[in-house]
Symmetry: C2
Subunit: 579 residues, 2 copies
């Protein structure tokens, strides 16, 4: 496929019975998690529940064959479903398109974008999405998702893509709370929280680990069937409890989505965003798990695997998918050794699609809201924000901006502003670099900041270290720094620009250096460079700057100062006191 | 004014007769340049000619009182007029606003934006506009302006804001060329070019410099009156030659522009762009001239001065203004010593507005097109492009992108894409930093790249120098570089990350360093740091990274290697051959 290799050939060859057993156990656990989650995330995306089931069959097969992670579990995930609901909601409002058609088109487009990025080997682009921004985005999205479940739990009709719309909707509709729906929802929520807390303790009672783990992960699916049975027995439908209703049984039918140019154009930006966010989440989960087993994942192959998963989801009438964090960790912990585990899980989901549908008719929507609530609560994590506050204001600003704007303006605007803010903050910091006057640490050839270390300096010589590459955004700042230092230093004869931290000099900065050189020369001061790196020197040689330079280029600052100070005795701290 | 000082107080105090004489000569020369240029640039902006005159009276007074450059000549300039035409043309098409009203609103908005930026001391923001982008933008805009004069020269009706529209318009209308208009236009063009070439040579014939200079600069105004007189004598109006026509004589009347919220909102982005471009051009001219006389200009005061100039232009019914390059150089060369020269020039322009109007009725528009053509030809300069091609591909890409997109998509899209492209190129380069394995230069304590220098290395120790700050966009790249190096080096015990070029480590990069530290530790390899800068060390101390670090932090790479290599004999190039 577009020159990509088939990673599945690597693990197929040595497949044995031990591996088979491990993969089957993992598949069973992932399948019981996938059933309620796929239904719930389909409703979160705003489409009929079966579209979630359909997104867990072929996409798992596609990723198992083409993805490079051995344990990633692909399928519907909360944040991508929220982004889908936001994007499709907008497009339906503006173009009047059909909701289901638009959702399938979105999955198709995201998949095609990922495949194209993979073919062009553009995986590196996601490096510009900082961890800080992603962490903030996930926390804010999880809060929006959690709030968005409250109407279903209360049995009222409210919605919205941001904090303000959601809370005003909730406040307005809360008085209309449907008590029976709330009771069923709270029952589901209680059962889920209790089983999450108490089932793992069965291990300490001497029960074997695997069945306990299976039971623990199966609690949502059990809650689904318990509440569905209860709802049927109590005939709550007549009492007005919102149910999942008719789910067509059977496997998905394959169909090429019809290309509606206007719809696809309107969806393009959202599809790109969903592709990138899904990819970033997926790769970071994949990387973490791979590192634990000394495996590696190939970022460009991941684009192919995830792209194929989304395209097959669209072909089988499903919603956009990604690598889910919690399911992948469960898959890994349950011992999944190869992507065959995902193939078996896909088979399990196919069986579910074939035979479970009739039992889901009476499932209260409030149960699925409870399943989502419990799942996304784990994603709300403010520890990044706390850590960034201690570590650096720039990172804190980036996270806080992303969280705030995502909460206030919704997922799309939030994450885009976060990315832009993090890049601008980085640029802003590099535009005002640290500039230090340095001197020699006694007994060494090493130069450090005169304000931090006891060092030797020489009158008439300024050793100046610029702690940044010189480029257009900081050239004027550095020019000013040099002039203000020079104007404060009497009897100056040499300025040595120490360049160990200068990794590049662009044309704008070169022009500034030329004018600094000329103006210092007019004032009888020579400009020297030291410790210029190879790549920078290569670049400077292409211009005539080195010919025009009034001073010299020294290999090290030690040599520069030794030569320029000549026979003068060293005077510790002389320069510092002169400033 | 908003806490800013009045720079005019500095030069008013010591004003004497010598200075007065110099300023008067300069004012006379600038005035004769301003008359044809102000008329021409008003037509370029698409508004009646008198709006150009009005923009040369109060704005000059305002800048003389509030600006920090002593010789900058403010007024209508070619590129700002082109941007005005583009912005107003669009807004008029979408909102149906009046052309003149919209132009005045644009000047007002730009002025207010500049004043606000000055009050907030945001002058540093323009550093993000690289010289490369500005140079490319000016060249491309000048080409568009030059092409845009051809219809007026040919006497046809065509227009457009980019290369394609202009050329297709010209091709379609060229057959309708009006011969008499063309003859008059070529006459004006010929006279301008001849006088530009021959008048300066009068100096070599022994004539004094000042009158020759005045005559040279007056040639456009002479051409204006000669062609106007000719057009009147030949009664070309009946023959269908487009004339400037009725210009209301008298001084501008002051009026507060009415605030039309929709119009102002639509104009805001363009006003911001015009404010920034005008400011950047103006400051770069001001800086260059100030440096020649050892004066300085204050970037934030310039915002105030230029903002006040635009606000007063709007109040007196003028067009947006900026500091013009050619007029400022002429003002400087003519000996202008203080901004009083601009006050005198403003007085000259007031006289022109009062008494010249009747003589301009018969001025052919083709003459003004010729004036513009000759003026903007000097702005077309591809030497930057050539220089960047030799010096660095990144700068070349930034200039080429700006030129191409400005030509193809017009000034607004062009300059914005140029800025974004230059920032993205910079980020792209820092996302793939140079990483070098280094060794000690024999006989020194200095470490250089093993591939470029004959250096000493030690088995079991990798000294790795990363030539970039560590931040989210390059953290994954550096992680991969370290792992691939480690995996290729047998019997490795120590990795020393040499950090003289690491000017910052952000939270994402810190997380990567932590995981590198942990994974190397699992493999029995210790991670050390050396030459960590003060500010970076301050930052690292706020996290627990230094506690978790498996190795040590050394002051210098020399100390690190001396300590870690212990008693082992040095083996030159050992590591290099091991790779």
């Amino acid at each position: 496929m577009m020159g990509a290799r088939l990673p599945c050939l690597d693990w197929c060859r040595n497949y044995d019975r031990v591996t088979l057993a491990r993969d089957l156990v993992a598949a069973a656990i992932v399948t019981v998690m996938l059933i309620p989650q796929s239904l719930a995330y389909a409703l979160l995306a705003g489409v009929p529940a079966q579209m979630g089931l359909y997104a867990t069959i072929l996409p798992l097969v596609a990723y198992a064959l083409l993805g490079s992670s051995r344990t990633l579990s692909v399928g519907p995930v909360a944040i991508i479903s929220l982004m889908t609901a936001t994007a499709v909601g907008e497009v339906v409002a503006t173009t009047g398109a059909d909701y289901v058609t638009a959702t399938i088109a979105l999955a198709m487009l995201s998949g095609l974008i990922l495949l194209l990025m993979g073919a062009l080997r553009l995986g590196f682009l996601v490096n510009f999405l900082s961890h800080a921004v992603v962490a903030g985005f996930i926390t804010a999205s999880a809060i929006i998702i959690a709030l968005g479940q409250l109407p279903a739990l209360l049995g009222v009709d409210a919605g919205g893509g941001n904090l303000l719309d959601l809370s005003s909707g909730l406040l307005a509709t809360a008085p209309a709370t449907h008590p029976l729906t709330l009771v069923l929802g709270l029952l589901a929520l209680g059962l889920l929280l209790l089983s999450r807390r108490w089932v793992p303790r069965l291990v300490s009672l001497g029960l074997p680990k695997t069945p306990v783990q299976l039971l623990c992960k199966a609690s949502p699916v059990l809650v689904v069937f318990v509440t569905a049975a209860l709802a049927r027995w109590l005939t709550v439908e007549q009492a007005g409890v919102a149910l999942v209703g008719e789910i067509p049984g059977g496997l998905p039918t394959l169909a090429l989505p019809t290309v509606l140019p206007e719809l696809w154009r309107e969806l393009f930006d959202s599809a790109l965003l969903i592709a990138i966010i899904g990819y970033v989440e997926s790769v970071s989960v994949g990387k973490t798990l791979a590192a634990k087993r000394r495996q590696r994942i190939d970022p460009n192959q991941e684009l192919i695997g995830l792209g194929a998963a989304n395209v097959t989801s669209a072909l089988s009438g499903g919603i956009p998918v990604s690598g889910g964090f919690s399911r992948s960790v469960v898959n890994f912990d349950a011992g999944a050794a190869t992507p065959a585990a995902s193939l078996f899980a896909a088979a399990g989901m196919a069986l579910a699609a074939l035979y479970l549908a009739p039992y889901l008719y009476h499932l209260p929507r409030a149960t699925l809201a409870a399943v989502i609530l419990v799942a996304v609560f784990q994603l709300i994590d403010f520890s990044h924000l706390r850590r960034a506050w201690r570590y650096s204001r720039g990172d804190f600003m980036a996270i806080a901006t992303t969280i705030l704007l995502t909460l206030l303006l919704g997922v799309e605007v939030g994450v885009m502003c976060g990315v832009v803010a993090s890049l601008l903050l980085h640029l802003y910091e590099t535009s005002r670099p640290h500039v230090a006057v340095v001197g020699e640490v006694p007994g060494t050839e090493h130069f450090r900041n005169v304000e931090r270390h006891q060092v030797i300096t020489h009158p008439g010589i300024i050793s100046l270290r610029v702690d940044e590459s010189l480029y257009f955004a900081n050239a004027a700042y550095i020019e000013d720094a040099i002039y203000s230092l020079v104007s404060r230093t009497p009897r100056l004869r040499h300025v040595v620009l120490m360049c160990p931290a200068v990794n590049a000099i662009d044309l704008s900065a070169l022009e500034v250096l030329e004018s600094v050189n000329d103006r210092l020369a007019e004032a009888g001061v020579k400009l020297h460079l030291s410790e210029v790196k190879g790549p920078v020197m290569d670049c400077l040689r292409k211009s005539d700057f080195l010919l025009r330079l009034s001073g010299e280029v020294f290999l090290s600052q030690h040599q520069a100062v030794a030569r320029l100070s000549g026979a003068q005795p060293a005077q510790p701290q002389a320069l510092l006191s002169a400033l």
